[in-house]
Symmetry: D2
Subunit: 139 residues, 4 copies
């Protein structure tokens, strides 16, 4: 029985990421999820930097986030990234953010493999498909 | 028959908002929608700045965006903000972004009225409810 | 007697640009000065976007800012940008930020004309030099 | 003979921090230097978070940076932060950023101790002065 590929990374809320409510600004979570998925792909054996150098890009087409409790300045956050699916040119990620063991946010993104030349969708590179092979990819 | 309150604002993509793909970074749209709803509320007669000074805050609890086509550096974007609902402490907004008449993104947010003292949900202020009165608020 | 080319633009501090001190975060001024110089160049007749499309880039090599008083959420800021010099591949700008007629920040930047191919310094494009001709360029 | 207090921290350039030139946007370095000085103060035994909770704030009054070579996406940067001086309410930091052993940026900031109540300058807290005591503070 396969399971999804999952990866954990941590980061600290920067001062410049807070807003005058004293919360981490809701728009800054997008960078946290990006860090989560880049590190997840790196640990799977796929450098996003090298992917781009090969002419393949992965823009985000859908992004959805549920804010449960605020992240505050200097909080250490644990981001769990799950590669939840790969279907045609689309790559799906699920995320959770926890602080001190408490769930504070969940999110999902859809990314699309495109070629740098035309920015049109393309099938995922074979080496990425092979790296994903041991893992479940229902969607 | 009532209709939803709707407001249009324009802004230009800044250089620092692009990423190395040449797109406006997906995380920066959150600020654009915030500009949209702040200006929508201002045109309705409600200053978000004054609301905070009265001890009422409006953190975002849900945020969802669909990216249809990229926004590029220096593009002038037209953001249409619709106040789509008010239900208990929750305030719902829908957004579209167009460039040169073409739809490039849609989004929704849910915000929650909270009191600054405890950050617990509260009913919307009466003056805001009155301002919303002429408009449809189904949700 | 010539004078420097000068341009005024206004913008409003966004919520996401504040920090938990309630100030506009010190790092966000860089974007404001960039808006100032892009609009200054546009009003002079030079689109920075078109410049890049012609293979010429203008990275910043020096940036210095003096924060006199805070910019707060929703403040409308007046940015005055002066093209203070052009010397070899280097382009110099001076900036002031005012709110309600009061000076709250001053800054300077040095930018360098480089060619996209090699990112090496190049002389400024002739059409830019011609646009600058009526103005004083001591440095 | 005393020396300045110095601290090294590392971070990786995020995708959202690049611009369409493919460089880390010049405005994003401000956050990197902030991470540098917060971690320097933490390693000295002073939490900036706790400092604020005690009603003391440290806004930036001067910021100057020299960009020598670009930081690119996914580069791992080494930030060296030196507490270079403490004079009245003013705290001075010097910074360098290196990648792969090569210097790519230098910077300085001046911060001012202020009290949260009035945002007026105050002498640095005694415990901070004591922590600084072993180190040279000429300025």
């Amino acid at each position: 029985m396969n399971t999804h590929f999952s990866h954990i990374t941590t980061l600290r809320v920067r001062y410049g990421e807070t807003d005058q409510m004293g919360y981490c600004y809701y728009g800054n979570y997008a960078q946290y999820f990006e860090v989560g998925r880049v590190e997840a792909m790196r640990s799977l054996g796929m450098s996003y930097r090298l992917l781009e150098e090969r002419g393949v890009m992965l823009p985000v087409s859908e992004f959805s986030v549920h804010y449960i409790a605020p992240a505050l300045y200097d909080d250490e956050l644990t981001i769990t990234t799950v590669i939840s699916g790969l279907k045609g040119p689309r790559l799906y990620f699920d995320y959770t953010i926890e602080k001190e063991g408490k769930l504070i946010a969940t999110a999902t993104t859809t990314l699309v493999f495109v070629t740098k030349d035309t920015m049109r969708p393309i099938p995922p590179p074979n080496d990425f498909v092979n790296l994903m092979h041991p893992y479940e990819q229902e969607q």
